[in-house]
């Protein structure tokens, strides 16, 4: 048995890239599972969800009063709970990340924005302004509310339904088909890239120098690019041999039921109220 203690090696860029791939795939699996659960949002027509949540996100963006943004955030949380989305998952996927990213950006705002001074920092004497605090609060709350609403749409709806629902916004059919196929190939390419990196890592003894690691990254992208061309040629021939001649058609199989109309009315009522009180 070895007596040398195991040092925790800092993760190389290869390992971090692999980790980010796995994280993306995990997010997709979470979304797939949640979309099959039996919650409020899962039962609503995807077109209603797309329009409604978009209206709420726009309301978040246009509100000029802080309490409106807070109220919309609360609405998002309530919808999440009613749709069996765990608040822990939301915190992990959205809230903490947004807070760290936007929080850091918003941190200097209270000291930099001109306005009415509320207090001064003890040693450095920087002035803390009311307007600055308000600006920071607006930014952080808006980001959290909008991000929560967007992630709810995706977690509670199968991805290809989200895309088809975008047709109601007059998105061209060819764009919807391209986006749908893109998602499929994202996971294929992620898997390919993951395998390339894993095989490279398992054949590497010791640490690579910086220039070598850059070469590895660039070569991996180059190989992925060549594989992408081959893949697209193969897919193209497969599509042609099954009758594809360049025209795209989509099967519109959504049907609006009573719950959908109620939810649509509710979404728009909320959005309109937010616009009216928040102007």
């Amino acid at each position: 048995m070895s007596s040398t203690p195991r040092r925790k090696r800092p993760r190389s860029s290869v390992e971090r890239t692999i980790a980010s791939f796995l994280d993306a795939m995990e997010h997709a699996f979470d979304a797939e599972e949640l979309a099959r659960a039996d919650g409020l949002l899962q039962r609503v027509d995807p077109r209603v969800k797309a329009l409604g949540i978009l209206a709420l996100v726009v309301a978040v963006a246009t509100a000029h009063k802080l309490w409106i943004v807070l109220a919309l955030f609360a609405v998002a949380v309530v919808m999440a709970v009613l749709s069996q989305v765990s608040l822990q998952l939301l915190a992990k996927r959205v809230w903490i990340a947004a807070l760290l990213f936007t929080g850091v950006i918003a941190l200097p705002a209270p000291f930099v924005t001109p306005g009415q001074t509320l207090a001064r920092l003890p040693l450095i004497g920087w002035p803390l302004t009311a307007q600055g605090l308000s600006a920071a609060a607006f930014l952080v709350l808006r980001v959290e509310a909008a991000a929560t609403l967007t992630v709810l749409l995706v977690l509670c709806t199968p991805w290809n339904h989200v895309l088809k629902a975008l047709r109601v916004l007059r998105l061209p059919a060819v764009v919807v088909v391209i986006l749908g196929m893109t998602c499929r190939y994202i996971f294929l390419l992620l898997q390919t890239a993951h395998d390339m990196f894993e095989s490279r890592r398992s054949r590497t003894v010791g640490e690579l120098e910086g220039p070598d690691r850059r070469r590895v990254a660039a070569a991996s992208i180059g190989v992925l690019m060549s594989k992408s061309f081959q893949l697209s040629s193969g897919v193209y021939m497969a599509m042609q041999s099954r009758g594809f001649r360049g025209d795209v058609y989509l099967l519109e199989d959504f049907q609006a039921r009573r719950l959908d109309w109620i939810m649509l009315a509710a979404f728009f009522a909320l959005a309109l109220a937010a616009f009216w009180f928040g102007r």
Binding site: A135, F138, A218, I221, S228, V235, R245
Partner: protein, 364 residues
């Protein structure tokens, strides 16, 4: 550099959606013409590829890592139109599915990264690479510089969009409603990171991938290398050949004139006939108008039509002096660059539309 929801006001978002939509439309038409039935599988795979590239951790000198957008190599391999569409699709999926970047700001993010980035990368790559052979090392340099400048152009656009928010969008108490930092903070903050880390990551990826493709698969570089010189030099003059080299002196002249624009401020006074409605009530201006008009006194107040219509449109940069710039000389220069840039962009778009109507420019 993906701007989340809440950082940009609805008006800014709508303006940038408005700026992006014609570019998307033109690109879609052009790509349909160039690739025809291959459009769907090729763009799907390349959108997926650009998404995956954005997740790569590129090791940088100093032990840090950066992320590249891949706009440089996407433009070089696919051409600018297809690159605009592929990267926009990747950004949309990142925004909707992964929450990286906002939905209201999708237009802005596409404009910055996909559209501005692709166009800058294409122009710089073609300008530097010229007609060198596909395997020439100058192409690697061209790719690296194109990627670097493209990402910094995107960052500058984003910085300007964020920086003008506190200028225009404040509530009654004077608190900024969206991004709270003015231009003099937003621009350095964004640019420092992109001139260094992100820029070097993009530079390394663009140059490295082109170098790899030159060895492994040079045919992938053909789309953005029309009329490549394969053997001995042509003896025709550059002007007869046309293309970028012929116009180079003109570009240099334009750049020189641009830099000299602040000299225009030296000419004092208002040109004849360019008075505003207010000038008719100002006694000093009235005297100047009379002297310049063969001593005929102007009417006692501004003509009714002039008064009514002069408030119809408020220019963003009135009198070539952007409100956020203090020194008039710099404001003049900025207005000149902005105006020249818009004209160049418009002529390029018109040129592409025209070229698209005439048919493909590269065989195969």
């Amino acid at each position: 550099m993906h701007i989340p929801d809440g950082y940009l006001s609805p008006l800014t978002c709508i303006a940038l959606y408005g700026a992006s939509t014609p570019a998307w439309y033109v690109s879609l038409r052009r790509v349909k013409r160039l690739f025809n039935t291959r459009l769907v599988p090729l763009l799907s795979v390349f959108s997926a590829l650009s998404f995956v590239i954005m997740m790569f951790n590129v090791p940088l000198p100093g032990g840090t890592t950066g992320h590249a957008v891949g706009v440089g190599i996407a433009t070089i391999v696919l051409g600018p139109s297809a690159s605009i569409l592929a990267i926009s699709a990747a950004i949309l999926i990142q925004a909707v599915f992964f929450g990286d970047g906002g939905i209201t700001t999708f237009g802005a993010n596409s404009f910055n990264m996909a559209i501005a980035g692709s166009l800058v990368a294409y122009l710089v790559y073609r300008a530097i690479a010229g007609r060198q052979a596909l395997t020439s090392s100058r192409r690697v340099l061209a790719a690296a510089v194109a990627g670097y400048l493209a990402i910094n152009a995107s960052a500058l656009c984003a910085a300007v969009e964020l920086g003008i928010q506190p200028l225009f969008f404040k509530n009654a108490a004077g608190a900024p409603l969206y991004a709270p930092y003015p231009l003099n903070i937003a621009v350095p903050a964004m640019m420092i990171g992109h001139l260094t880390f992100a820029g070097f990551a993009e530079l390394a990826v663009s140059g490295g991938v082109v170098a790899y493709l030159q060895r492994a698969n040079p045919t992938l570089l053909e789309r953005t290398a029309p009329g490549v010189l394969s053997g001995a030099e042509d003896s025709q003059s550059a002007l007869a050949r046309g293309g970028w080299k012929a116009a180079q002196p003109l570009w240099l002249l334009t750049a020189l004139l641009l830099v000299m624009t602040p000299l225009g401020i030296l000419a004092a006074g208002t040109a004849w006939g360019e008075w505003s409605a207010r000038d008719f009530s100002n006694p000093e201006m009235r005297q100047r108008i009379a002297v310049e008009s063969a001593n005929v006194a102007p009417p006692a107040r501004a003509p009714r039509g002039l008064g009514r219509l002069s408030s119809l449109w408020t220019a963003p940069f009135p009198q070539y002096a952007p409100p956020f710039v203090r020194r008039p000389a710099f404001g003049y220069l900025l207005s000149a660059m902005f105006g020249a840039g818009i004209i160049i962009l418009l002529s390029l778009m018109i040129g592409w539309l025209a070229a698209g109507n005439r048919g493909r420019e590269t065989p195969g």
